[in-house]
């Protein structure tokens, strides 16, 4: 009974933890602009994330090495330095986007400019890193993030044309009047919003924080293979809610508030409360997690002691990196750069960087001497290699698309 309970809790936090500012922004934009024609991108991204996280989680559980241990040991000092530097930089951009997201949510609730909230959001995220026990952090915000289910409820209250939407889901095509490069660009952003490198760093390092062993693999798999896809469904619901409300009015989403509008239109104030709480929880948890991931990546690469399971004094340099990341990201958002634009850049660059961490994990999961009987099976290699191919293509086209479409304009 207790096992079932803890597994349910794990799945629920995985669902809530899957969605962050990247999913909110990209789902809102694409739903309003392209209907459900980009559903496939969310499906690809979510399956890829589940596969990647499961592999990283399995490697961590068996070898007790989270992702950047593996990266440095397998790729050597030089190549892995590129990986660590790229991932840390990316975590910083993501962290900035999440802090911006938290502040935008607070602006929606209070009407006070988000810039006032930025330093407070940064401080609060750091306090969570500094003092909040790991399990608490994961569970509280993961569960609150589940409030996004209101988007599903809203769909039933809105004049949703299920038939037309389903048609767009199963036969995707560039909608009339929309430029093809932009459509492809947003496909990349959706994939990038689902497979975020920081989430994998966090997932595998978090496994170490919770002391996973080979026995934890089932629980980890349930989280990855059930929790993440359900999280993907939530971001599809956000996309779908935009279709009957924003698309017919030709509203292009460029602010976070517009993503919440369909729920207000369908469910009124009660729905909005759920949106506010869940958006806050999702972005705030993601802020803490991406800051932690910077610390994880650097400390694991350098071989410093890391993690929230030690008191901060015993992992001083790890906490120094986390603190420095929070300060840098906060300062960056305070330059009044548009958080939504930062989010778009973060997800695109994130998509481009996925192979850097995915490749070494795929390799190590194949090392029979390390993994024993938990080595990759043939099917997971087939799927894994296919997915590596997709991610390499995505990675190659992402930056050119970003330039050609001027970030999706």
């Amino acid at each position: 009974m207790k096992a079932v309970l803890s597994m349910t809790l794990g799945v629920m936090t995985a669902i809530g933890g899957f969605v962050d500012i990247g999913n909110l922004v990209t789902s809102g934009i694409t739903g309003a602009r392209f209907g459900m024609t980009l559903t496939w991108a969310v499906v690809v991204g979510t399956l890829g994330m589940a596969l990647f996280a499961e592999m990283a989680g399995r490697v961590t559980a068996v070898t007790r090495k989270p992702i950047f241990h593996v990266v440095r040991e397998r790729l050597g000092v030089r190549v892995s330095l590129v990986n660590a530097a790229a991932s840390t930089l990316l975590n910083l951009v993501t962290l900035a986007a999440e802090i911006g997201g938290v502040s935008l949510v607070l602006q929606m609730v209070t009407g006070i400019s988000y810039l006032i909230w930025v330093p407070l959001a940064g401080l609060a995220a750091w306090l969570v890193i500094w003092r909040m026990p790991f399990q608490w952090m994961e569970n509280v915000f993961g569960l609150l993030g589940l409030g996004m289910v209101v988007f599903v409820v809203a769909l039933f209250r809105l004049p949703t044309d299920w038939h037309a939407m389903w048609h767009q889901v199963i036969s995707p095509a560039v909608p009339a009047g929309q430029p093809a490069p932009t459509w492809w660009f947003y496909a990349v952003t959706l994939i990038g919003a689902c497979i975020v490198p920081y989430q994998v760093i966090f997932f595998s390092s978090g496994g170490r924080e919770e002391g996973w062993t080979s026995k934890s693999i089932t629980e980890m798999r349930v989280n990855a293979f059930i929790g993440f896809p359900l999280g993907g469904l939530l971001s599809l619901a956000i996309m779908a809610a935009a279709v009957p409300v924003l698309q017919p009015r030709s509203i292009g989403v460029s602010h976070l508030g517009q993503v919440a509008l369909p729920v207000a239109a369908a469910l009124g104030k009660a729905g909005l409360v759920f949106v506010f709480v869940s958006f806050f929880a999702a972005t705030f948890a993601a802020a803490a997690e991406s800051a932690l991931s910077s610390g994880y990546a650097v400390a694991q690469y350098m071989g410093w002691s890391w993690g929230k399971r030690h008191p901060p004094g015993a992992a001083a340099r790890f906490h120094l990196v986390c603190l420095a990341s929070v300060i840098a990201a906060t300062a960056f958002i305070l330059t009044t750069v548009d958080p939504v634009t930062v989010t778009i850049f973060a997800v695109v660059l994130g998509a481009a960087a996925v192979p850097l961490t995915y490749f070494p994990i795929l390799i190590v999961a194949n090392d029979a001497r390390l993994m024993g009987k938990r080595v990759n099976r043939r099917w997971s290699n087939a799927v894994g290699t296919f997915f590596l191919l997709i991610m390499v293509v995505v990675s190659v086209v992402s930056v050119p698309l970003l330039i050609i479409t001027k970030a999706g304009q």
């Binding site: 050597g76 330095l81 003092r131 071989g303 410093w304 002691s305 004094g313 001083a316 603190l323």
Partner: protein
């Protein structure tokens, strides 16, 4: 005496870049380089110590970045000597595919000034750092 998982192995396989765990199970850094005895005729070099820290790490990076890293590392060291932190081969307890365990506690190893400095001057001064 050190227990080794295998009798024959390569540096990349078991030693370089591996994680060091001290006798209390705490992470104690990574193997950045290996020290070998100087070769003599008829006497092949043997492993004498594991080297850690930025003055060991820099040369492995190579190039301008490596030189730069080394220079910063030197400035952060308590002594002017630029030789990296040594962990004598006699202190190695066990070497396997996962990690290298040591016989000593990490407080007793040559530690970097950077670690103590961050602990004492920054992290230790923030309320709530001890637990």
């Amino acid at each position: 005496m050190t227990r080794w998982e295998e009798d024959e192995f390569t540096a990349n396989d078991l030693l370089l870049d591996r994680e060091l765990i001290d006798c209390n199970g705490m992470p104690a850094g990574r193997v950045d380089d290996l020290e070998l005895s100087d070769p003599a005729p008829g006497e092949p070099p043997v492993l004498t110590a594991l080297l850690c820290g930025s003055t060991a790490f820099g040369p492995r990076l190579g190039g301008r970045l490596g030189t730069w890293w080394q220079a910063i590392g030197r400035r952060l060291r308590p002594v002017t000597d630029s030789y990296p932190n040594r962990i004598d081969a006699g202190l190695i307890d066990h070497v396997d595919r996962l990690e290298i365990t040591l016989l000593a506690a990490r407080e007793h190893l040559d530690s970097y000034r950077f670690r103590q400095w961050t602990e004492e001057k920054i992290i230790g001064r923030i309320p709530g750092s001890t637990g």
